[in-house]
Symmetry: none
Amino acid sequence: MMARKPKFNERHQKILQFIEDYQKEHGYPPTIREIGEHVRVPSTSLVDYYLKRLEIQGYIERAHGVSRGVRLARSNAQERSMFRVPILGVIAAGQPIPVPEAGQTTYLTDDESFAVEIASSLLPEAERGPLFALEVKGDSMIDAMINDGDIVVLKPAVEARNGEMVAIWLPQREETTLKYFYKDRDGYLLKPANPFMQPIRIPKSEPLEIKGKVVLVVRRVAPVAA
Amino acid sequence: MMARKPKFNERHQKILQFIEDYQKEHGYPPTIREIGEHVRVPSTSLVDYYLKRLEIQGYIERAHGVSRGVRLARSNAQERSMFRVPILGVIAAGQPIPVPEAGQTTYLTDDESFAVEIASSLLPEAERGPLFALEVKGDSMIDAMINDGDIVVLKPAVEARNGEMVAIWLPQREETTLKYFYKDRDGYLLKPANPFMQPIRIPKSEPLEIKGKVVLVVRRVAPVAA
DNA sequence: ATTATAATTGAACACATGTTCGATTGTCAA
DNA sequence: TTGACAATCGAACATGTGTTCAATTATAAT
């Protein structure tokens, strides 16, 4: 009964690749014939046949009856490829951590200097959503392997699971740190990222405010003249 | 003699705007007729007339004889915002650094796991061009504030200026390191990024191979379950 | 007013391009 | 083998779409 099921062969892949490349190079999508030429499919109807399949499978979107009316589906395309994350302030040893207000839409100034752009491919799927970034000032985070000038991207959070790297405010000490977070019956254990440094133990009694989970650390290495 | 000179009226502006909007919405550029319809220009020849002007003035680029062959000039459009940088291998203490072959086109596997995407806004203008990335294996780069699993983005180079962070292969020691590079009459001084650590002095006599300049360091902080 | 040129029109043309359809061939499962 | 469907072909068709051109109208400088 069932004959061989339609497979997603290399040609399909090649077509998707070609559409992407062509779009990037020309600024507009290819025609059916151009696709066929490149993938060595001599008949336009066959290309159409392929495109129909790709459309059904959700890889592309088509505007029917429209020349060059083909594009990669949002999911594949560079749609979600960029994230603009606002830099809310600095993170430093002696200062509380600025966090985004809940109500206010995390809004972005157009000013480039107050935002970083992140390739979403750098983020695990789950970490999407509202993010904010802080610029590290001073050497106080150095035991977290984070240096002056680095940018840490955070996901707002008030609690964490063991093993996650979090930004913490210790009210009693008036201190901010970035540490791997572990909780046990005696209190908290804060491990530096640098394995050669000693973890800090926080007794249960001491207050501890988690401000966010670290999702990404970016260091631009500016070449400095002599 | 001179009649009124061709002015850049609001229609021109409107057309540019429309091309941009349309492209963003549909994923492909509009036709001449669609433009005319939107800007309330009833004759296709007049739209063509406008487009010719816009092309001469450098606002748009056209592929003549091609349907929907119009796009905003690069200068207007948002310059390429993404970089795809191939991950050529790992960088570790005891291993030579893999560098891209000069001849071979920096080729990108489709495989996402072998490339990182970088927002070009993270890079200084000058650092564009061929880049490659390496994944850090082990703790050996820890004095450069770079940890196991980090990704370093490099620009191929065989020499460096003082103050630049470079990837270095020391043949005599069979060792790879990332350090800030300083050269003086006595040889080389390699400073760790971590200011608390001691710099290394390399005598003039010892060979030293620079493989690339560090442009960016990225650390994905994967949340680890308990 | 006159004139030169810009702006605009309308229509026709040529061909680029998506679509359709019948026929043929290839390939798997029963 | 045979049935069923996928894959492929070739050609024709309808129309989408850039281009051209001659003619007309509007505008600013003389």
